[in-house]
Symmetry: C2
Subunit: 183 residues, 2 copies
Amino acid sequence: MERELLLLGLLRQHRMHGYELSGVLGGALASCVDLKKPTAYFLLDKMAANGWARVKETREGNRPPRKTYTITTEGETEFQRLLRANLAEFDAPKAASDVAIAFMDALPPSEVITLLQDRRAILLAHLERAQSAPQHSEGLQLLIDHQTYLLQSELSWLDSVITRLRGTRKATVKSHTKQLKEK
Amino acid sequence: MERELLLLGLLRQHRMHGYELSGVLGGALASCVDLKKPTAYFLLDKMAANGWARVKETREGNRPPRKTYTITTEGETEFQRLLRANLAEFDAPKAASDVAIAFMDALPPSEVITLLQDRRAILLAHLERAQSAPQHSEGLQLLIDHQTYLLQSELSWLDSVITRLRGTRKATVKSHTKQLKEK
DNA sequence: TTTTCCATGTAACTCGTTACATGATTTC
DNA sequence: GAAATCATGTAACGAGTTACATGGAAAA
């Protein structure tokens, strides 16, 4: 549902062909949304079938022909419907990768710290990618900013966990060794 | 992958039958993870088939028979493997519901504010549900705390957006009316 | 006595991804 | 001459959800 909204929103800014679109999605927006090429092509077809977009086959020079999609009036109506629905709803971000955190006491703290630093590096890479994204239209920029904000929150949380672990490391290393021996 | 980790982690704390487990998942953990009943049953079967858990059919009184799952040594090994992998990885939280934010300038700010307040109410409900969750084991509590933290970040971001909109409302209401007339 | 709870599942379906297919063209 | 880019798709697969099926027991 939000994928349709995204595509309609992008087409609303200016007409585009599939490859161009999937370029945009693979570029700066990759940090916020993922919508793979085949999905994009599929959705564009579907949108055209629904009458939300007009298709025109164009050809520049002797490059492969493009299918350029233009949003229609019905498309704009649908866009607004989706937009209203999506603005008013909220689906909680289920942080799937955090299940591990719940069970980290099953490993020695020193190892957990090492592993979490790997995690931290990946998170940092995401952050930098989001921050270094080239300028975009106001709206899309807001999306990227939000993503940046979220990643930063996540980073500071992760750091707090690591710090806490560092603190308890010396204290718990004994009890952990004890646990191992008890087994 | 993190679902298996979650189930193994829970079984590691103490043996459980499917219904009990899906109760836990539907209760306090519902705000963090969603894993529906059929999926849980399916995964438990699979885990038993993989030798990660032992099954024992038990019966208390004249209630329907239960299939109680106990983690095995291989299960524990797998648990640790998954745990290490999951601790070291990070998949960026793609906030799907935020696509709408990127296009909110397509609607009059006053309407956007109304819609975002609906969103805010849902977010608040999630927050309260997460906060009011009954006490859990250390680890699971950490998971819930993280979720709470994330939701709070999200809330304050949303509030900042709404505030900004309130500020620009009077300024942009004219230009928006103008836009409408131009069409 | 009807609804809710306990307890297990199956089957169909949706949605998206991965991997593959095609073919010309420009760059190295 | 090989590799990457442009440009479109198809087909198979996977993972999870929804809806349905079953049946006894307790609570309302």
